[in-house]
Amino acid sequence: MADKLLEVTDLHVMYRTDDDNVYALNGVDISVEKGKTLGLVGETGAGKTTLALSILRLLPDRVGFVTQGNVKMNGVELLKLSEPDMRLLRGNDISMIFQDPMTSLNPIHTVGDQIAEVIALHNEHADRDSIEKKVDEMMEMVGIPAIRKSEYPHQFSGGMKQRIVIAIALACNPKLLLADEPTTALDVTIQAQVLEMMEQLKQKLGTSMILITHDLGIVAQICDQVGIMYAGEVVEIGTVEDIFEGTQHHPYTVGLFGAIPNMAEGSPRLHPIDGLMPDPSIVLPGCPFAERCPHRLDKCQKERPQAVPVNSGMHRIKCWLAKAVREE
């Protein structure tokens, strides 16, 4: 097993609203190895962004709470760090790329200043010239001429803004990059460019990454490992090969793949998964997918399945069926 950079174990997150409690994460276990990319896939509301925000400890004040679990980075428990220590970590060791580049840059500061700010915040001894040099370097690295650093965000196109955001996120060579749907707001050709660039930078800087996305194509392209999330749980996790090729899958994963058009076979009609995600404000005793599952057993709705390793690697599935298959 390679070195683990980040380990999240049994993470529970709850949003407390006026009306009721929403259980957003219910026992998430993931780990990211050094220099590797973990893709998180799942439909809207599965808790992907919540997971990223809880790693950074940026859940909304007074509303979002981590109720249980650990987040360890290089053996340090992030959930127990003091706020000033955590602030030093953010942007320096862990950085985040947000979904919408149109709104994640401050409109009244030049892009160069915004890159410089992160560098200055985390390198207290750097002087102005070296900060400037680093800004130029970062801008060239993401493929934008350094001359444009004195321009404002509104003077850039969407794809270029996302490059700037990536430059900010990578400016302090973070060990871990959380990318929350970094390409969703971009059109397809720009998507490809940005992804390729992120992949190259990752190689160059040795950064680990958690890539949150809806798009299984992107996952296949740049991830090493994949976690499939459903209703606040990681229902299946494994290497890209395990998920795309393996023999055993969680029924939800099968459903997800069934909803993608298959170019080779030309299926006449796609098969969406029937039903909706369960109401996250109700704690279900059993498997959250049971309601929609075509292979439901009696105990699925009564008992919660545990993650079961289904091969010698890291492929694990949270399903009663998976266990049954292995015991045979």
Partner: protein, 303 residues
């Protein structure tokens, strides 16, 4: 701990220096293109210059204070040496308007400085931290808001004693609740944006987020309120003067001149017009400048 703080401060300083050159220059370049704003700036600077160099062409005691009853109620242009005429005690109106500007302009600007800084601090803190902090701060402000401005100023001046400094503090404090409400609401509209969240994710401290990322973006409505308040505080000073808590006679001051001219309005309207125009000029110049500054600070409105 102190070493850490010192380090932090040095980072802030460095960042500020780093910014200053480029940003100040771009703001000035953009402001230059706005003719109205430049007109406002020029008007304000001229008034400032005239008021601060008054001693060169007037003698304070002789022209603005001493009474020459033989020359009372000379209209503008009636006598040589009194271009704006003389008042009911024969004092030169122009000299009094100019010397009055020293107090009125100073009080107006100082008051807005007090209520702007206090209001920004309270409003931004309340909006940023939300929850209990917000509730406590805003309920306190509500209590103060329930007391009429002038009544509050009277109370404060009466409690602390009559002096120019107390007057400014009292009126600044009286204007704070309204200012903090406006700051709070415009900060709230900025706080939910992604770039604030992003700033947090890059490890920016709370104070830095408030002062560098939120307040500059929330400046528009705050500036408008600030320029209006300048005019209002000039008038408030005169009301306070009227009941003996502000600037006492015979010290010239625009508000006091206006209220003294009120009784002569029918036969000698010029007495009210001169200080009135002076007040309007200050307000107009500040409003134009404020407007232009806001536009110049917002890069999106550049072209």
């Amino acid at each position: 701990m102190t070493a850490e703080n010192a380090q932090k401060i040095s980072v802030e300083n460095r960042l500020r220096q780093y910014k200053k050159k480029s940003q100040m220059r771009t703001i000035w370049n953009r402001l230059k293109k706005n003719r109205l704003a430049i007109f406002g700036l020029a008007l304000f600077l001229v008034m400032l210059a005239v008021v601060s160099t008054a001693d060169i062409y007037y003698n304070y005691e002789q022209d603005a204070i001493a009474q020459h009853l033989s020359l009372r109620f000379k209209g503008p242009g009636q006598t040589a040496g009194h271009p704006l005429g003389t008042d009911q005690y024969g004092r030169d109106v122009l000299a009094r308007v100019i010397y009055g500007g020293r107090i009125s302009m100073f009080v107006g600007l100082a008051t807005i400085c007090v209520s702007l800084s206090l209001g920004s601090l309270i409003g931004a803190t309340a909006a940023y931290y939300g929850g209990k902090v917000d509730n406590i701060l805003m309920r306190i402000m509500d209590v103060f808001l329930a007391i009429p401005n002038i009544l509050m100023a009277i109370t404060l001046v009466a409690a602390f004693g009559t002096s120019l400094l107390n007057l400014i503090l009292a009126m600044g404090l009286a204007g704070t609740p309204k200012m903090s409400r406006i700051v709070r609401s415009s900060v709230l509209s900025i706080i939910g944006t992604d770039y604030i969240e992003a700033a947090r994710a890059y490890g920016t401290s709370d104070m830095r987020i408030i002062f560098r990322h939120i307040l500059p973006n929330a400046m528009g409505p705050i500036l408008v309120q600030a320029t209006q308040t300048v005019a209002r505080s000039v008038i408030t000073v005169s009301s306070l003067s009227f009941i003996g808590l502000g600037i006492s006679e015979p010290t010239p001051e625009w508000g006091a001149m206006l209220s003294a001219a009120k009784s002569q309005l029918r036969y000698h309207p010029y007495l009210a017009i001169s200080p009135g125009i002076a007040i309007v000029m200050v307000v107009v110049s500040l409003t134009l400048l404020g407007d232009g500054l806001r536009d110049a600070m917002d890069p999106r409105l550049k072209n």
